[in-house]
Amino acid sequence: MTNYFHSVTLEEDKCRGCTNCIKHCPTEAIRVRNGKATIIKERCIDCGECIRVCPYHAKKAVTDPISELSKYPVKVALPAPSLYGQFGQDISRERILKGLLELGFDWVFEVAKAAEIVSDATRRIIGAGNVKKPVISSACPAVVRLVQVRFPNLINNLLKIESPMEVAARIAKQTITERENIPAEEIGIFFISPCAAKVTSVKAPYEKKESFVNGVLSMKDIHIKILEKIKSIPWDFDGDLVSSGAYGVGWAGSGGECSALETPRTLAVHGIHNVINIFEEIVEDRLKNVDFVEALSCTEGCLGGPLTVVNPFVASTNLKWQVNRAKERDFSGENTAADYQDLLWTKDMEYKPILKLDDNMMKAMIKMQKLEEINDGLPGLDCGACGSPSCRALAEDIVRGLAFETDCIFKLREKVSDLADHMKAFEHIYRQKTED
């Protein structure tokens, strides 16, 4: 595995070199060069914004194919809570989980259950007091990577607890090995994911050495297959498959993690650009009276993930039905984390200063001076035609030696027109000489 594994990738032949992705990328990680988009690996946080905005579907999230299941004698499905929002109100959670079993999984283990455990641990950590507030949720891996590359001052605010997916995978593996006496290598744990960032967090985790998850399936790939199976499952099927209450199910949408904490001193923000705005407020000490921030990269939280099927707002309504039904059964006595120590991250997160112009600060200052100068000469239209997301980003690319001033079509036009003037002047001199 290289240093920078990314789920988000480009299919070059589909790319037309337009400016949609470069303009929407929250870390300015994409450039169009020679007519094709290229992703700057160090900068990409796998948020999937580019997947959403590309009109040619040239950006995609690499996930594992369903055929991966056959590699393991025992197959376990870990459905993300957002899966429940992908079905209408007439389809119960029991039927969705049964649908997964009929697809060939031997076990289903709700990530929602693990979410309740994580929430319990969070309540205990905030209650214990010795944490930097506001505590920022680490459930969304794109947001964690955003902190890592753009907000070094917030690294210590991150909740250093494993994500519900990891907690679920660990419990599933332990339970099955202990109860069924099956060796861990024979158990394949598959997360059913709404997003690319989760794939990356499994293949290249930041919080520990290796993930407990063996494969990540796209919700898109599996949704129709579940629907087909559900058709033949009675509407009132109850196989005792659910293990999460309303809080865990609610985690799928924006505000879900907050409400599980049972305190008003929380803030929920969704959509990566909104997240950036709130993080700026926190860095400048502007956010008051908030102990916990739930920050999710996608609009409407995980329900808006780039690998989901249903419109995020429709999914949000679907989820409300599931949450209401989940209130009938309470698992809060089981889904606790009295001893949350083993849920803590085992690796410290380091700041990745991808934005700095040079390792040497003096050199960086001189480059910055040059950058400002170049920027002042650019038209300031931020048209993106040069392949950089803004005029300032082009100026930055120029000082980094990655682009030329004439990549700007306005600069190029100036140059061409200057050249034409010179030629005219020469022609004039030449004529005068021949007339003499």
Partner: protein, 141 residues
């Protein structure tokens, strides 16, 4: 010694949504220079508070930021009503902000002391009816 980078920002009067734009810009600049994150945090908090004062009390003004080899110098100034009693103004909790501004969560009387706390050198000059000038120096190392 002259500064290597010089930036100037307008600070609008009475528009809270724009307060913080200058400090946010400076933060990006310092990040690109590779300045230590703690220094960046101190700079942006001090500058934001100074900016906010100009928005609330100063009737708009300007911020001038100069970056040297070893330090950042910030001057935030306005031509507003000025401060009557500087010593009193520096007291934590003292505020002349009107009620409606407090209701918005601003004007808690911590601004100036917060600037002082986050800067290495802090000078406040003010004259009633002439305006206020806040000088902030923060060392890079």
């Amino acid at each position: 010694m002259s500064s290597i980078i010089k930036k100037e920002y307008d600070i609008p009067a009475n528009d809270f949504s724009l307060a913080g734009e200058a400090s946010s810009n400076v933060r990006k600049l310092l990040t690109q220079l590779g300045v230590n994150p703690t220094v960046i945090k101190r700079t942006s908090i001090a500058m934001y508070e100074a900016e906010l004062n100009v928005v609330i009390h100063g009737n708009g003004g300007k911020a001038r930021v100069e970056i040297f080899e070893d330090k950042i110098e910030i001057l935030v100034y306005d031509e507003g009503p000025g401060i009557e009693d500087i010593e009193l103004a520096m007291k934590e909790g003292y505020s002349t902000a009107p009620d409606f501004i407090r209701e918005m969560g601003f004007g808690a009387g911590m601004g100036l002391s917060n600037i002082k706390k986050n800067s290495d050198r802090f000078v406040l000059e003010s004259e009633p009816n002439k305006g206020t000038r806040v000088y902030i120096t923060i060392y890079l190392y």
